[in-house]
Symmetry: C2
Subunit: 88 residues, 2 copies
């Protein structure tokens, strides 16, 4: 593996971590404030279905990074979706 390949592996790892961890502050915000009016219900429904399909795809591929990232993202996105359904 060349140095450039190693750097790009890290770019991929950091990308996957960020796009998952990003949803944690949104979860904290909706759970604390119980305000979800400005969130789009359709966005979180489509996003949860999409992430669940990524998880299925990752399980089929046997790709641990895809499974871990999308498993964690699905949990966070589902919490936001449930809050949106409860708080309107």
């Amino acid at each position: 593996m060349q140095p450039n390949d190693q750097m790009m592996e890290w770019v991929g790892r950091i990308a996957g971590t960020l796009t998952t961890v990003a949803f944690l502050p949104q979860v904290v915000r909706v759970v604390r404030t119980r305000h979800t009016r400005d969130l789009s219900l359709v966005t979180f429904v489509l996003f949860c279905v999409g992430v669940a399909l990524w998880l299925w795809y990752g399980l089929w591929l046997g790709s641990r990074p895809i499974v871990v990232a999308n498993g964690a993202t699905l949990v966070l996105a589902l919490i936001i979706l449930v809050c949106k359904l409860r708080f309107g």
Copy 2:
């Protein structure tokens, strides 16, 4: 390619489409209402950086699906971020 492989290719395609298209209703909502109070600023900053890194990773890999999906998601997420910065 076996039938199961073809089906799983489609699962991957639909997953990528959904996790990108999902952000469109959120863009429409924030542009129309100009209300972004319930959105987490940190979430959209981290998400934009993460998606930009995915785009870079996809360009390096030469993976058209990663580039197209993350390019489109980045545009949508940046619009939401700019609205959040403007409308608070």
